[in-house]
Amino acid sequence: MQPPSQQTTADPKRHAPDTWVVVPLFNESTVIGEVVRGLLRSFDHVVCIDDGSTDGSAEVALRAGARVLHHPINLGQGAALQTGFSYVATKPEARFVVTFDADGQHRIEDALGMLDLAKSEDAAIVFGSRFLDTRTDPGVLKRIILKTAVSVTNLTTGLRLTDAHNGLRVIRSDAVERIHLDQDRMAHATEIVLKLGRTGLPWREYPVELLYTDYSKAKGQSVLNSVNILVDLLVR
């Protein structure tokens, strides 16, 4: 699970034709334009699922060049991801789906590296993990919450991940077609691991860096929301 570093000078558009980037979008108008423009430098297919944004995020994403789908009402990030998956499933050219957060905390180089790994090692699923190296410092409280989330995820899924609730994932189309997310809200992060794990397809983890900007810190998961995630997972 070492990061393949030999590809750093490779063509940034090497994965563009067969990869769809799915970006759940809810009220991120200040950053989504830059995120989409960044993604389009490496990918041809960037799909934003506007989850009922009220701040004009959809228009910003559209002007930046993304394909924008609209949820008629706000459903939650998990629902937006699943809508993206269902949409990509209608595209026969799509071999890989990249899930990417709209708030700009992921690095595109990491996504490209994960795709390299998926293709070179024939992995169906690559999970991004911020805890495989020391680049990311989430702070003490957040680290405790995230580590608890990982424990709960590992306990319920049987996989051995080092990071849960990381929005950067690479999923091969056959794996995408074999899962359906029922958790509309944030508990989907555990659900997606659970359901991908059940497919029995080969998976890897890849060290990624999360860019904790002031913006993403302010938007991030509150401590109380982890209670919601737990209840959503346990009480169905």
Partner: protein, 120 residues
Amino acid sequence: MTMMWIQILLVVGVILAGIFLARPARGDSHLALRRLFMLLFVIVAVVSIMVPQWLTWLANLVGVGRGADLLLYALVLAFLVTVATSYRHNVATNRKLTLLAREITLARAAAEDAGRGDAA
């Protein structure tokens, strides 16, 4: 300390409500149970109105002093079951709403894609 009958009954009732909450939703048996429960409720209510002493007799039988207290306990239990069922109902309705909204989203996207010669 010896457990009173009412304590056992209430604890069992609370646990059953909890299990009911965690159980996957099943349409028909769920509805049938609710109707049976309603029937039982009506019968008990009518009997209690016609023969008020009966409630106190029943209360004494399970270790509660007054019929009114028993009524309160039963009410708490009924409230818990109501919360549980309405929560489950809510979850099921949200599920349907999500699927409906997704269908609308995808139908619109497909129409747009067809309109622009399928360029994602």
